[in-house]
């Protein structure tokens, strides 16, 4: 399963360089042709310097289809106990012992999905943790950018003249508004999958010729 790690062994610094050198699709690319990787991380807290990633889930979208066969869910060995955060994500220390190393996770992401546009709900947080993780593992991190479904939803509602409360932008509230199946809270893969469905629905609110650049501007 972790074949990319075993062979061929790539020099550590090569991983970041190779990820960086793969071109991202240009803003003029129609969204229907863009490959996305939707991801979600479960964390021990909110501070990327102090807290840790306990699990990660992702699922790619190609040609507007969520590819379930390539979905992945990993538990990550934590350097310290998960402590109180177990209450939220339901993962306990003994489960995380079976997980993979943090560097394996980041390496898997970078080597498998170069050229994929990252997507997350409240992406800022996930990117901050990924960046710190890459820096720890490889000495430096790619400059990650992502489409944020939360921001898209914020703009969408804002343009409709709705008064927004924080609750309205939670993943499950967004799903309900888009009449999508609810996600069981705080499971990285389930949330990543739900977020992917949300993205497709958000894209479908616009014309079929929408470009990546237009999508990015909605996510600002």
């Amino acid at each position: 399963m972790f074949g990319w790690f075993k062979n061929p062994p790539m020099p550590i610094n090569e991983i970041v360089r190779s990820y960086d050198s793969t071109p991202m699709p240009s803003p003029k690319t129609p969204v229907s042709e863009v490959n996305f990787l939707v991801l979600d991380l479960e964390l021990t807290g909110l501070d990327p310097k102090k807290d840790h990633i306990v699990s990660a889930g992702w699922v790619p979208i190609r040609q507007q289809e969520i590819m379930l066969g390539d979905s992945a869910h990993y538990l990550v060995k934590s350097p310290v106990g998960v402590g109180q955060s177990a209450v939220i994500h339901g993962l306990h220390d003994h489960q995380l012992l079976k997980g993979i190393e943090l560097c394996e996770l980041v390496q898997g992401l970078l080597s498998q999905y170069p050229g994929y546009v990252l997507v997350a709900h409240h992406a800022q947080m996930d990117l901050a943790f990924l960046t710190v993780a890459a820096e720890r593992c490889f000495g430096r991190s790619p400059k990650f950018k992502a489409i944020d479904t939360l921001k898209i939803e914020w703009q969408r509602l804002h343009n409709k003249g709705k008064v927004l409360t924080k609750d309205m932008l939670r993943l499950n509230s967004c799903l309900a508004r888009h009449k999508l199946p609810e996600a069981p809270q705080h499971h990285a893969l389930a949330d990543a999958f739900a977020c992917a469905q949300l993205l497709l629905s958000q894209i479908r609110q616009h014309s079929s010729s929408m470009t990546l650049g237009e999508l990015q501007s909605l996510s600002r």
Partner: protein, 607 residues
């Protein structure tokens, strides 16, 4: 590493429900998920199995005939996977939804591995062939959604009339929806272009907003087709914008309607609206019995038949009101003709009597009082002659106590709610189901909002209402035997209405009043109660099923009585039922029993 959302759904979907978790995970990995927007055509030659997760899809033959509707748990694409022959079908998405695509390899694999799954799809294919042959849909049950296509041709109010004309030509339509910020603001038809632009000598640069019809009548996608007929004939219009959840869906025209239902006896409704004389209306009313017989012979489900019959009563009422206004001159103030009870719930049977009243904008004094007294007399007498007989309890607009202003009604309801005397409680079962039949909707809305605000979470009132409703029980004895009752003529039977239908209607009303739900129809109330999680989805479904079974039995019984030349009676002799039916009926009563004890627990605990 599977997505539980997907495997959980598959585990509940025939034929995959026989697979275990590991097998389902394996299957899910061969799938992808796609979001389809309403109006989008689904690509049908991708040689994969499509599984509908959410949304509604219409399948049209190459002749553009509607073959079937696909909903959650339905499949498409197996015919091509099984035969390698592609179809010339069109699959159109009516309501946004998610579909799962299973790859051809995945499909073949699971088919070879599990014999039952293979058999399932073979059978489905067999049935599908049949679909092409049996295309005559039941004419009465046609809904707007069956006829209207998810095709929205719209223009901005700021466009010019020339652009509008060009657009009509391009799309070959006779009308356009005028839309601003995704909201319907009007419609413009080719007739408008003729009579309001060309005939008036307006410039081609004139704005659409200057000549369009503002705030047009609209119809819901899930309404029955005959309701569109009624709106069109009542207001002499030929185009109706179709809404789905208040969003614009498309347009339905008189031509669409005629094409869809050439032999529809509910033309009767259109006919009624064209009458301008007593004799004409009476002539139409004499056809009701014939209509009900043909509804019955076409095996229209009971709840739909009652809906049709209620619509006829509505049309007759409206015609009499129009005739009265013709005779008496324009009304001195705004008013609403109210229907109560079964007419309000759209659940009328053949033996329904009148339950109606008047809601007036101003206090009924002097000339106003006089005018509406006369109007009520004409309408109530007229309906009586049409066979919708006077209410034995005098709940009719001809009763001066039931011709009140908004303030008057509001006071009246407040009194019933605050001091629930036995008489008030008795009345609640009739008066709390109300619907505007003719006149001002906003006047009615004001009253309804007022009532709902008063009843929501009003524990004392709900206590008494429930207590009263619980006096009626299903006719099941201790050992689950039927308890029969006699009517005046010494005939034993089960009273399907008093000991069945009414109990469910009461339950639905009490729960709805407790949560401010404005639906009136019992089935709609039960559905909304489940949607808003006031009632458990399963309980609501059970009650719905029970209601349908009882309504069907009663409807069949009435038809049978009439065919035998008897009066329609609600008393059913269980001996005429088959063993299976008897068993089913006991289940129905059991469901009511349980729902009643839940209601007791909810509303009748000590206060």
């Amino acid at each position: 590493m599977e997505v539980t959302e997907v495997t959980k759904f598959l585990a509940e979907t025939t034929p995959f429900d026989e697979l275990d978790t590991a097998q389902l995970q394996e299957l899910a990995r061969q799938m992808s998920v796609y979001y389809v927007r309403g109006g989008e055509e689904v690509n049908t030659d991708s040689n994969r199995l499509m599984i509908v997760r959410t949304g509604v899809f219409s399948l049209y033959s190459d002749q553009q005939q509607l073959l079937t509707k696909l909903q959650s748990g339905d499949f498409y694409g197996y015919q091509q996977l099984l035969t390698d022959l592609s179809d010339q079908d069109t699959l159109l998405c009516d309501e946004d939804g998610l579909v799962y695509w299973l790859s051809a390899e995945g499909f073949q694999q699971v088919r070879y591995q599990y014999k039952n799954i293979d058999l399932f799809f073979q059978r489905l294919f067999g049935r599908r062939l049949h679909q092409y042959k049996a295309q005559s849909t039941n004419r009465f049950t046609l809904k707007i959604i069956d006829v209207a296509k998810a095709r929205k041709v719209s223009i901005s109010p700021d466009a010019t009339v020339q652009q509008a004309a060009a657009m009509m030509t391009e799309h070959r339509v006779s009308s356009l929806l005028v839309e601003q910020q995704q909201k319907l603001v009007g419609i413009i038809t080719d007739r408008d272009l003729r009579s309001r632009v060309v005939a008036e000598g307006l410039a081609a640069e004139s704005k659409v907003s200057e000549v369009m019809t503002n705030k047009p009548f609209t119809i819901e996608l899930h309404a029955y087709l005959f309701e569109a007929v009624q709106l069109m004939s009542q207001h002499n219009i030929h185009h109706l914008p179709v809404l789905r959840d208040e969003q614009l869906f498309g347009m339905i025209t008189a031509t669409d309607v005629i094409r869809a239902q050439q032999d529809h006896p509910v033309y009767l409704i259109g006919e009624i609206h064209r009458q301008h004389s007593d004799d004409g209306i009476l002539q139409c009313a004499s056809q009701i019995l014939h209509l009900s017989q043909s509804l019955s012979s076409q095996q229209v489900p009971a709840h739909e038949a009652s809906h049709v019959l209620t619509t006829v009563t509505d049309a007759l009422t409206q015609s009499w009101i129009k005739l009265a206004i013709q005779r008496l001159g324009p009304p001195p103030c705004v008013f609403t003709w109210l229907g109560f009870g079964s007419q309000a719930r759209m659940e009328q049977g053949l033996n329904a009597d009148q339950d109606n009243a008047l809601l007036l904008e101003k206090e009924p004094e002097g000339a106003i009082a006089q005018y509406f007294e006369q109007l009520a007399k004409i309408v109530c007498d007229g309906l009586n002659e049409c066979g919708i007989v006077y209410c034995p309890g005098n709940i009719m607009a001809s009763n001066p106590e039931l011709r009140l202003s908004l303030k008057g009604w509001s006071k009246q309801f407040a009194r019933w709610i605050q001091t629930p005397t036995p008489e008030a409680l008795l009345k609640s079962s009739i008066f709390f189901d109300l619907r505007p039949i003719y006149g001002s909707k906003s006047l009615f809305n004001a009253l309804q909002q007022d009532i709902l605000a008063r009843t929501t979470d009003k524990a004392v009132f709900l206590y008494h209402l429930s207590h009263n409703a619980l006096k009626g029980t299903p006719p099941l004895g201790f050992f689950k035997t039927f308890t029969l009752e006699r009517d005046g003529k010494q005939k034993k039977g089960l009273d399907l209405k008093k000991r069945g239908l009414i109990l469910i209607t009461d339950l639905a009303r009490i729960y709805s009043l407790s949560k401010g739900i404005s639906a009136i129809n019992t089935r709609q109330r039960l559905m909304q109660l489940a949607q808003q999680k006031v009632m458990d989805a399963k309980d609501s479904q059970n009650l719905l099923d029970a209601f349908d079974v009882l309504a069907q039995l009663r409807w069949d019984k009435h038809q049978h009585d009439i065919a035998q030349g008897h009066e329609a009676s609600n008393l059913l002799d269980p001996a005429v039922l088959s063993g299976l039916q008897r068993h089913q009926l006991k289940d129905v009563f059991e469901v009511i029993n349980q729902a009643q004890s839940q209601m007791k627990y909810r509303f009748c605990r000590e206060l």
